[in-house]
C-alpha cells in the first residue's frame, strides 16, 4: 500500500494550474508554427503569428496565455493499492484554489448555474475518477475555457447513420462554431458508450498530444478524414478565413448498445492546456 499525502496532491495541482495556463505545450506551439508556414491567407498568417508571439510572452513572463484560464477538469486514475491520507477531492480543490490565487489566474466559476455567484477561487474542479490496478496516482488537469466549451455538442445517432452520420455531425458542429472557439481548434470526439460516456471520452481525447493518432487503424483513418474536411470549411485562424481551422481531431471510442451510436464533440481552442503527473 502506497501512502500519498494531501500536501503532495495540493502542491502538484497548484503548480500544474499555473504552469499549464502560462506555458503552451510544445506540441501545440509546434503545430501553430507549422500552420503559420502552411497557411495561405495573409490575415490567417497574421493571427497565427500573433498566437506564436503571445505564447512566447506568456511563457517568459509567466502570465496566462489566455485570460479565460478555464474551469479545471481533472482526470484521476487511482491505483487500488494507493492510500490517500485525508480527502483526495478536498486536496485537488485546495490545489486549484492556491494555483489560481498565487498564479494570478482568473476565477471563472460560479457556485450555482442559475444564481451565478462567483466562488472567488475557481473551485470546484470537475473531477472524473477511475480506479485502476497498481499503486500509482495519475492526475491529468485540463483547464477548459468556455469560448470553445460552449460550441461543443452531443448527438445520439442511430447505428444506420454510421460513419457518414458521424462525419456530418462533427463538421456541422465545427461549422456552427465558426470563429467563436478561437480557431485553430482541437476537436475532441467521443463515440460510443452511453450519452455521458461519449461526452467524457470527447473531453479525455483532448489530453492527447497533437500528431498522435488513435491506435485503431479505422479510427485513425476517421481522424485523418475529419481533420482534412474540417480544414476545408474555410473558417481559418481567428475565423477570419483560411485553411487552418483545426490542428487536430482526436477520437476515443467505447463499446455501445446495439441500438445506439452516441457522438460527442468537445471543441477546444488553440490554447488547449493540459498537464499530467504521476505520484
Amino acid at each position: 500500500m502506497k501512502k500519498i499525502t494531501e500536501k503532495q496532491i495540493i502542491d502538484v495541482i497548484k503548480e500544474m494550474c499555473i504552469q499549464t495556463n502560462c506555458c503552451l505545450n510544445t506540441d501545440v506551439s509546434d503545430a501553430l508554427e507549422t500552420s503559420y508556414e502552411n497557411e495561405i491567407s495573409e490575415t490567417g498568417k497574421e493571427i497565427l503569428n500573433q498566437l506564436v508571439i503571445n505564447a512566447k510572452i506568456a511563457g517568459s513572463e509567466m502570465i496566462p496565455i489566455c485570460q479565460d484560464t478555464g474551469m479545471v477538469v481533472c482526470f484521476v486514475e487511482i491505483g487500488q493499492d494507493v492510500f490517500v491520507e485525508g480527502s483526495l477531492e478536498d486536496a485537488i480543490n485546495e490545489g486549484v484554489r492556491r494555483g489560481y490565487s498565487e498564479g494570478f489566474l482568473r476565477k471563472s466559476v460560479v457556485s450555482d448555474p442559475i444564481l451565478r455567484e462567483n466562488t472567488g477561487d475557481n473551485t470546484p474542479a470537475v473531477i472524473h475518477y477511475q480506479i485502476v490496478s497498481g499503486d500509482s496516482l495519475k492526475i491529468s488537469i485540463l483547464p477548459k475555457g468556455f469560448g470553445s466549451e460552449n460550441m461543443s455538442a452531443l448527438k445520439m445517432l442511430t447505428p444506420s447513420q454510421g460513419i457518414e452520420g458521424i462525419i456530418d455531425f462533427v463538421l456541422e458542429t465545427c461549422s456552427n462554431a465558426g470563429p467563436n472557439p478561437c480557431p485553430p481548434i482541437i476537436v475532441g470526439v467521443g463515440i460510443g458508450g452511453t450519452m455521458e460516456k461519449s461526452a467524457i471520452l470527447a473531453k479525455k481525447s483532448l489530453l492527447r498530444k497533437i500528431g498522435v493518432s488513435n491506435p485503431l487503424p479505422h479510427i485513425a483513418e476517421l481522424e485523418k478524414t475529419l481533420l482534412s474536411e474540417t480544414n476545408k470549411l474555410g473558417i481559418g485562424p481567428g475565423g477570419l478565413g483560411g485553411i487552418t481551422t483545426a490542428l487536430a481531431v482526436n477520437i476515443e471510442i467505447y463499446p455501445t448498445h446495439i441500438a445506439g451510436l452516441p457522438v460527442s464533440v468537445n471543441i477546444s481552442c488553440h490554447a488547449t492546456r493540459h498537464l499530467e503527473v504521476e505520484l
Binding site: I40, S41, T43, G44, E46, I47, Q50, L51, I53, N54, A55, I57, A58, E61, I63, P64, I65, C66, Q67, D68, T69, F104, L105, R106, K107, S108, R116, N118, G120, G147, N150, G178, P179, N180, C182, K232, L233, G234, I235, G236, G238, G239, L240, G241, G242, I243, C269, H270, A271
Partner: protein, 184 residues
C-alpha cells in the same frame, strides 16, 4: 499597414473603414462583459445614471486576469461577443460607436449596427498576453463586486484589431470563410 482609430469616436469618422482593414486602436475604451451588460441594461431601463456615457464610445468584451504586482492588467483577450447580443441593440441606439470582441453577432445586432453605423472590431481570441501590452492603464469604474466582470476604463495604445463588420454591413467572417472554402 494598420489604420489608426482613436476612441471615443463619432460614427461618421469610422464610416470609411472596410471589413478586413487592420487597425490600431488608441484612446479610451470600456471593458464590459456578460454580468456588466445585464446591470447596465437594468440601469437604462430604470432611467438611472450609467457608469459611462455610451455615445461615441467603444466597448471591449473582456474579463481580464488579475494583474501581477507591477502589471497594468493581466491577460486580456476578447470573449465571445455573441453572448452580449441580447443587450447590444439598446447600447447601439444610445450611440455606441465601436464594439471589440470575437465571434459572430446576431442578425438583430447586425441590423442595428448597420442602421446606426456602429463598427464591430475583432481582436485575436487567446492572445491575451500579447494584447495586455497595448493597455496603458486600467481602472475599475463600476460593479467591483463582479470581479473579472467589473466595468473598466482602459487606456490603450496601438491595440491590434481588425474591422470585422463595417458600416456597410460587410462581414469579414463571411467573406473570409467563403474565400477559403474555394481552396478545397
Amino acid at each position: 499597414m494598420s489604420i489608426s482609430v482613436t476612441f471615443p469616436a463619432k460614427r461618421e469618422t469610422l464610416k470609411d473603414l472596410k471589413a478586413g482593414d487592420i487597425v490600431s486602436i488608441s484612446g479610451t475604451i470600456y471593458a464590459a462583459r456578460d454580468a456588466a451588460h445585464k446591470k447596465i441594461i437594468a440601469l437604462i431601463d430604470k432611467g438611472l445614471p450609467l457608469p459611462f456615457e455610451i455615445r461615441d464610445q467603444a466597448i471591449y468584451y473582456v474579463g481580464p486576469c488579475p494583474e501581477k504586482p507591477g502589471q497594468v492588467i493581466g491577460s486580456c483577450g476578447p470573449t465571445t461577443s455573441g453572448r452580449m447580443d441580447s443587450y447590444t441593440p439598446k447600447l447601439i441606439e444610445l450611440g455606441l460607436s465601436g464594439m471589440i470582441g470575437k465571434g459572430e453577432r446576431s442578425a438583430t445586432v447586425k441590423k442595428a449596427a448597420l442602421e446606426h453605423g456602429t463598427i464591430y472590431f475583432g481582436c485575436t481570441g487567446g492572445a491575451g498576453a500579447l494584447l495586455s501590452r497595448s493597455v496603458i492603464s486600467s481602472e475599475v469604474i463600476a460593479f467591483p463586486e463582479l470581479g473579472a466582470e467589473a466595468v473598466r476604463k482602459l487606456c490603450v495604445k496601438d491595440f491590434p484589431a481588425i474591422v470585422v463588420i463595417d458600416s456597410f454591413g460587410n462581414n469579414l467572417y463571411e467573406i473570409g470563410r467563403e474565400k477559403y472554402k474555394a481552396f478545397t
